[in-house]
Symmetry: C2
Subunit: 463 residues, 2 copies
């Protein structure tokens, strides 16, 4: 392990340059025009796996974007770790807010990353964090230090809700058979406050379209005489949250797991400064569900947010028009034990109920996934805990996270295994935003930590 860690230290520059090459490929899964780039990103991933020593490397086509598989099976009697990640990225827009090209990775120092950070779309979510695993695997192979079997499954549709991933897993249970899933698509509290994610929220993402007149109308001639779909959409959206920022959709909270006082006081121990938080986000004051702290609002409580809205004339100058229609992308973050299909139904029924007679409303289900929680009394979790303790010099805090990692419930359902969410990024790394970045400290710390996980895991399994 000593030599292995020295090897890692001496190869940092190469790790960086290789990742840069991957980050230069705009693998935007949401936009069909980038289909070719997504495919190139998959091939890049497969090649690096092969070079690192993986076998049976295969690019599995799907009705959408391909899934990359590779493995190293050293002994059927030893446990098997399944590494999951994704090589697709979020759309980079709004482009004009990027200080450097989203697909032209550069190193820049920041307040939170004095040693520098990699600025590029996908640097943290999730190419950078996937590449930590590939390089850790390479290091273990080079030093004959891989203590168990490992399988890699890297998909290309995570940012659009993994429409083809569940069917693939269900169709390849034997291929993906394993004892634990290892995934780095989450964050730590701070570089000096390591943490492991024990819960993630689910998602129900919908599009709501309100249609009024069959064409745009002159607002002077018709204004006051017909319903304006943009006004009506605003009124409908406004009605979805009450003055305590609770979702008003009947039944929405029915299945929400009530987190007990013990766990809530545990959570309150996570270092958090509201002032710093607000300063980082550039807001004067926070807002959220009455009766909960910001950490609770963003982890153990469900939400409802407009992700996008548009209608009428949005160009330069003025146009005195009554839009024929207005549309909003609305998504809800879900917590145990909400199920996204049930939430879809509740929302759709609710809109049908509140739809006024003077407009038409169309609700489209875009994508969804279930929330998930990881037990912390298992050898898998314990191994991750020890590995981080080793490399960070302090024990990681178990924490619930707001983001959505659908595979947690997927792998539990289909493969009956738990997922260890051992992410190394920071929430302040601007994931899904302009100027996404990933700290060099975090990137290298991940590569250093992962081999320890394998080491402790196998020990603990031996018992």
């Amino acid at each position: 392990m000593q030599q292995l860690q020295e090897y890692i230290q001496s190869n940092k520059d190469r790790y960086l340059n290789e990742l840069f090459d991957w980050l230069r490929i705009p693998s935007i899964s949401a936009d069909a025009t980038y289909k070719g780039d997504v495919a190139r990103a998959a091939e890049f991933c497969a090649d690096r796996l092969r070079e690192a020593g993986a076998e049976n490397v295969t690019i599995y086509p799907t009705p959408g974007h391909a899934i990359v598989y590779g493995d190293k099976l050293i002994n059927p009697d030893l446990p098997t770790v399944l590494v999951y990640g994704h090589y697709d990225v979020q759309p980079p827009d709004p482009l004009d807010l990027w200080e450097s090209g989203p697909f032209e990775p550069v190193i820049k120092k920041t307040e939170t990353h004095p040693q520098g950070a990699i600025f590029a779309r996908g640097s943290s979510d999730d190419k950078g964090q996937v590449y930590m695993h590939i390089k850790a695997f390479e290091a273990m192979m080079k030093h004959d230090a891989l203590p168990c079997n490992v399988k890699f499954i890297i998909e290309g549709e995570e940012e659009i809700g993994s429409p083809n991933f569940r069917p693939f897993v269900e169709a390849h249970k034997a291929l993906l058979d394993c004892n634990v899933v290892l995934c780095s698509d989450t964050s730590i509290v701070a570089n000096d406050v390591p943490s492991l994610t024990t819960g993630v929220r689910g998602l129900a993402y919908m599009e709501v379209e309100v249609t009024g007149p069959s064409r745009d109308l002159h607002s002077g001639v018709y204004g006051g005489g017909v319903a304006n779909p943009a006004n009506v959409l605003c009124e409908l959206i406004a009605s979805l949250l009450d003055e305590n920022r609770k979702v008003t959709i009947p039944g929405f909270y029915d299945d929400v797991q009530v987190v007990g006082p013990e766990e809530r006081s545990e959570m309150s121990r996570i270092p958090f400064n509201q002032e710093t938080y607000n300063k980082n986000l550039g807001i004067r004051q926070e807002l959220g569900e009455e009766g909960y702290s910001t950490i609770e609002r963003t982890s153990i409580r469900p939400t409802l947010d407009v992700n996008g809205i548009w209608g009428g004339y949005t160009g330069e100058g003025t146009k005195t028009v009554l839009p024929a229609k207005a549309t909003a992308k609305i998504s809800m973050r879900l917590v145990p034990h909400q199920r996204h299909e049930k939430i879809y139904d509740l929302v759709e029924d609710h809109f049908k109920k509140i739809a006024p007679p003077y407009v038409s409303i169309k609700v489209t289900r875009m994508h969804g996934g279930e929330p998930g929680v990881t037990p912390i009394d298992t050898p898998e979790y314990r191994a991750a805990h020890l590995a981080m303790e080793k490399t960070f010099g302090k024990s990681p805090i178990p924490k619930r996270e707001g983001g959505y990692i659908p595979i947690v419930s997927l792998f539990r359902d289909v493969l009956s295994v738990d997922s260890i969410l051992i992410g190394f990024g920071l929430d302040s790394d601007a994931l899904h935003s302009p100027n996404e970045h990933f700290g060099l400290f975090n990137y290298y710390k991940g590569i250093e930590t992962i081999p320890y996980f394998y080491h402790y895991y196998v020990d603990l399994k031996k018992g």
Copy 2:
């Protein structure tokens, strides 16, 4: 007059082809990229005026788009008619809803226009209606039948609120000195129900921008913890209209002229079928201010409408983002005696008052104009009435209109003259919408009617 009318009949094809050439020029004043086309449209107008027999034809530059002037002064003792119109047009978008190119005029038959209509942006608003005046003038010149002095003032910024027109008029009072303004930028009730517009609504058009975090945020990581500007904008907009569709902004109705029962019963005599109206607009049910008919809601009552709204991710697929900002274009139609500057103040104060502490709000004044009313007991109005009676075979109904013709109050303020609003289009001609059109019946009827106006006007002035 007999010969003159025969001349008009025999030149219809030429009138059409000349207008087509003008309509092919995309003179979109709102979009800077069309500046050159707007200038070309002005030159086209000036050339046609010269050919028709106008003198002193001049293109006056302004800080924005140019103003075209021309006149024919036959005798200082005779009255002078000032013809006002505009050669700029609304942006054509949404382009995909046009059945033929917005700047490729074609003739198509419709239910309301069995003899066919000219389909093109600007066909009715306002190039087509301006060209009626130029051709009527040409006919009178050809037959030595121009009974008084005439001046033409055709601007290129009406669709963006005429920012440079008032300063120009104020600086050229002598040049524009006249007894009456004649303007065709309005509509008749139906081809068999002629009408004259005696009132027009004013406008206060604003942009409201709500800003939350300094960057777009991952809705999973931050969702529930920070105010979402798109949700907040919707809530603010929803609060501007109550359940009776009355504007909730304090003081908004203070200066609204209460229209008496006599005039309201007069208005109720205007042929109107709510079912046909709804069918034409493709709506199941109308909506408007409690206690008023659709005709009243769109003429004697003020309104508040969203003309455009945008924020967050509006592209293909899904993006789980909390937008950093959301924006809406909001405009109010005003009635006598509301003043747009006062309404601007009321709205801005109101937004300052209701702005929550967790977002920032910026209100921008885009453009505004005052409402106007024309007295009907004047020789000017009487002449228009007789002219329409002559060519339509029935007397026109005096009617208030919802649209906004700022020049009515402008010319009243600066030149102390009334404006005769003698439009020939129909409200159903899709003004400001895709597939704008102008009936051939209406185009030719306008050219036939205008010479009679001059004729009767001079007679009535002689007394």
